[in-house]
């Protein structure tokens, strides 16, 4: 089988009965296994499961028996000038083989510096060089895993002075040349637009929707310092009204995209997340 037909085969696996999912938190393992909430899938950070055994794998395996799974990595550092760490890709591959996720993804960002790692999703300049580096590293990751991966648009707090293109152009070139898919994080679109004075309608009109295979929704915070405001992507609250409105517009561009509710800090009881998922289902009209 050639590389590209393998990728198509991986994509055609596992139809999702209900297109809304929730980011899985260990606090909710018992609730989910006891109550079996009506959801299509869960998403996890594979970095939380890169261990040999124990309860994390026991719970995730039990949940996988009922639900589809998406692996959303935060650690491959695809935007780094250095090539991806093979140990990390090996650990990810082992999880892909074990859990057979319907989606595998990471971010348009970097965390591996020349000497150490810096555990965050650091911003990339939208330069030709950064695009080439990212495409090379996505290629290495897809080759290593034997399947297509999705890349997520970032939340950023700074823009770079030297840029050869804007984000929609960068995304368009990326998917065309790397053959990867995209996660469209609608909250990140909103956060970036607010932080950098950009137009969200223009952004949504210009991104390559044919490559978008997943949408993320999350809450963000408004940080005030010295009388200035900045939107911080902290996944610590309800999806904001503005972001729900932007989600409706996004679904106008492409219908029925699997949609994830993310909530990673100040984590509430599971029914609160479920209510957010129900709101997304109402928008998708399913």
């Amino acid at each position: 089988m050639t590389g590209s037909s393998q990728i198509r085969a991986a994509q055609s696996l596992s139809p999702i009965p209900i297109p809304v999912g929730i980011g899985l938190k260990s606090q909710h393992y018992h609730y989910i296994l006891d109550e079996k909430p009506k959801l299509g899938w869960f998403e996890v950070h594979p970095e939380n499961y890169m261990c040999a055994g124990g309860p994390p794998h026991r719970y995730l395996s039990a949940i996988r028996e009922t639900y589809e799974l998406s692996l959303h990595s935060v650690g491959t550092s695809l935007g780094s000038v250095t090539r991806p760490d093979v140990r990390h890709l090996d650990a990810l591959k082992a999880l892909v083989e074990r859990y057979e996720p319907f989606l595998v993804s990471d971010h348009i960002s970097w965390s591996r510096g020349p000497v150490h790692y810096h555990t965050d999703l650091l911003p990339l300049p939208y330069s030709q060089e950064a695009l080439d580096v990212l495409i090379r590293n996505v290629g290495i990751m897809q080759e290593h895993l034997g399947r297509q991966v999705l890349l997520e648009n970032p939340s950023t707090y700074l823009e770079f002075a030297r840029a050869d293109m804007d984000e929609p152009e960068f995304l368009t070139e990326l998917v065309k040349r790397a053959g990867c898919g995209l996660i469209m994080d609608v909250n990140n679109v909103f956060v970036c637009a607010a932080n950098h004075g950009l137009d969200t309608d223009d952004y949504l009109a210009r991104i390559p929707w044919e490559a978008v295979q997943e949408i993320h929704l999350a809450g963000h915070a408004v940080e005030e310092r010295d009388g200035f405001e900045l939107r911080i992507d902290d996944h610590g609250s309800h999806v904001s009204t503005d972001v729900w409105a932007l989600y409706e517009k996004a679904i106008g561009h492409k219908d029925m995209v699997p949609t994830l509710i993310e909530w990673d800090s100040n984590i509430p009881e599971f029914p609160v997340l479920m209510a957010e998922a129900e709101k997304a289902r109402a928008v998708l009209n399913v």
């Binding site: 970095e47 040999a52 055994g53 780094s80 000497v115 150490h116 405001e229």
Partner: protein, 258 residues
């Protein structure tokens, strides 16, 4: 060095305490660039601090959020993150605390951190099926001394100079009003997860020597001799039975004949 390589180097150095390379960023309206860069500094530290809080919940409870945060900040300076995940980061925090001046008068704090690190490693360790004790009863008496046992892959042996495991136990059960003299022990600990639950077992010195010798692939006879040297009253049979029932072993091998 390419432009991107220079930029990532400058960004990374600024995250480790250098000045933010403000000249590479686009002038922004609203919040000034240096405050925007601080978001990344805060995110990077916050990720490590949250991970360490998850790894050391009892230490955190004992020292409080401000002191904890300072410890992690100082630890991070000499222990930068080296991988794309934090699951394997921070296990030598106890060793760091042993020579960390602000903890010098409270040695039990470093010991508690060592207990918690071992607990977490046991929690995430490989699965293994416990040894069926019946197999042992089929071994002829003359072969017993040459048996070599395999301990469960989750096992960790830990010697403390303080009553760390009792402090850990009280604090993790929210019995913070209990009075424990940190100097009331020296402990010999076996931390192990035979199936689902991690157990922190306090052993006597001879049992510790015995099991640790077995773990170091010594024969039953050698391990027994080491235990007797520690304590002539060492009870081999009851120790073996207790650890068979406690599922400490996963296998044993018999000597080759001839």
């Amino acid at each position: 060095m390419s432009e991107l390589a220079r930029l990532q180097k400058a960004f990374a150095e600024a995250l480790e305490g250098g000045d933010a390379p403000l000249e590479v960023f686009k002038t922004a309206e609203g919040m000034p660039l240096h405050l925007r860069f601080d978001v990344y500094r805060n995110n990077v530290f916050g990720a490590v601090a949250r991970s360490m809080e998850g790894l050391y919940p009892v230490f955190y409870k004992l020292v409080g959020p401000d002191f904890f945060s300072q410890c992690v900040r100082d630890y991070l300076k000499t222990h930068p993150t080296q991988a794309g995940d934090l699951l394997n980061y921070g296990y030598d925090f106890g060793a760091f605390l042993q020579s960390y001046p602000p903890c010098a008068n409270h040695l039990y704090l470093a010991d508690v951190a060592r207990v918690e690190a071992a607990w977490q490693q046991a929690y995430m360790a490989e699965e293994a099926t416990p040894l069926d004790g019946q197999r042992l009863s089929e071994v002829p008496g003359e072969d017993m001394a040459d048996l070599r046992f395999t301990l469960h892959p989750s096992c960790h042996f830990l010697l403390t100079t303080t009553a760390a495991s009792r402090i850990w136990e009280a604090a993790s059960q929210d019995k913070m009003d209990q009075v424990i003299d940190p100097k009331s022990g020296g402990e010999h600990l076996l931390i192990i997860r035979p199936v689902h639950e991690v157990e922190v077992r306090r052993l006597n010195a001879a049992a510790y020597v015995f099991l640790n010798s077995l773990h170091n692939e010594e024969s039953l006879g050698i391990a027994y001799a080491a235990a007797i040297a520690q304590d002539p009253e060492f009870d081999l049979q009851n120790t073996l039975i207790a650890h068979l029932e406690g599922q400490s072993f996963t296998d044993f091998t018999r000597p080759l004949k001839g």
